[in-house]
Symmetry: C2
Subunit: 133 residues, 2 copies
DNA sequence: CAATCATAGACTTTACGTATCTATGATAGC
DNA sequence: GCTATCATAGATACGTAAAGTCTATGATTG
């Protein structure tokens, strides 16, 4: 579970889709990009990942765009982040011949605590609370 | 709380110092570097940070080197990592005018869970358990 | 068929961690 | 005091991955 700006864009996009396009028409990249002030081409790559991982769906052609998949209410922060960043751990031991590095074990446990929190938080749950973004 | 290879080196070094040099003579960079197969000059920078943050002490001249500070038994993973990486959060919102970004709040809470685990883990506690490294 | 939209690959740029080199300064022992 | 041993510090180079751009292709609507 690591983090980049792409993670950030993905999370904000998902939240935006949940608010603006839950049941309605799909939303195009342009609009999504405008909202976050990112270049559309760059955001496209991120969106494509989300499509491939099945978190959102896309439709080509006029009036096309992106919308959340069915059952998006179950999607957690963890799901979104993992779709973008993969499953790599935040920490890798630098020692060569240390398959059972004790430092790594500690870090993994700590990381697991963080991930658990992210698994519990859904975008749907955020919409119920205050919506500053 | 972010992580780099430097974090890794620092943690392993601290663990090594705790095992080999708790009360005895200081240990030189060369030996510490050999143990991890890192260049001494690079490790030096990391060690200097640890000195400045007060986690270890250094002594120049012949038979000089590094040893853990007094009261090292209290030092946690969190202390060590923060000494190297600073206090910067793992996540920064990319939106410009969003002082109270809800995404960031979620991430901070998750990060806090991880940090709490790291605060609880001391190098001393690891020495009591099995010592694969 | 033409406009609108997503997809994809190659490519460039930027940023930062990683690492090296070299010089300087402090201490211990002879 | 001299010398060897050790830490400290700054400048510099290197490598890699994220960040972002450009251009071409393919699908759908009207």
């Amino acid at each position: 579970m690591k983090f980049t700006k792409a993670t950030n864009y993905a999370l904000h996009t998902m939240l935006y889709l949940a608010k603006e396009g839950a049941k309605q028409q799909p939303i195009g990249v342009q609009q999504l990009a405008d909202h976050q002030q990112v270049s559309p081409t760059y955001l496209s790559k991120i969106l494509t990942k989300l499509v491939k991982e099945g978190l959102i769906t896309s439709s080509s052609g006029a009036n096309g765009g992106y919308k959340l998949r069915n059952g998006w209410q179950q999607l957690s922060f963890f799901d979104i982040i993992q779709a973008i960043e993969g499953k790599a751990s935040i920490f890798e031991c630098s020692l060569h011949d240390e398959p059972a590095c004790i430092v790594k074990r500690v870090m993994e446990k700590a990381e697991e605590q963080m991930e658990q929190e992210l698994r519990q938080t859904t975008i749907a749950s955020l919409l119920e609370g205050k919506s500053s973004e």
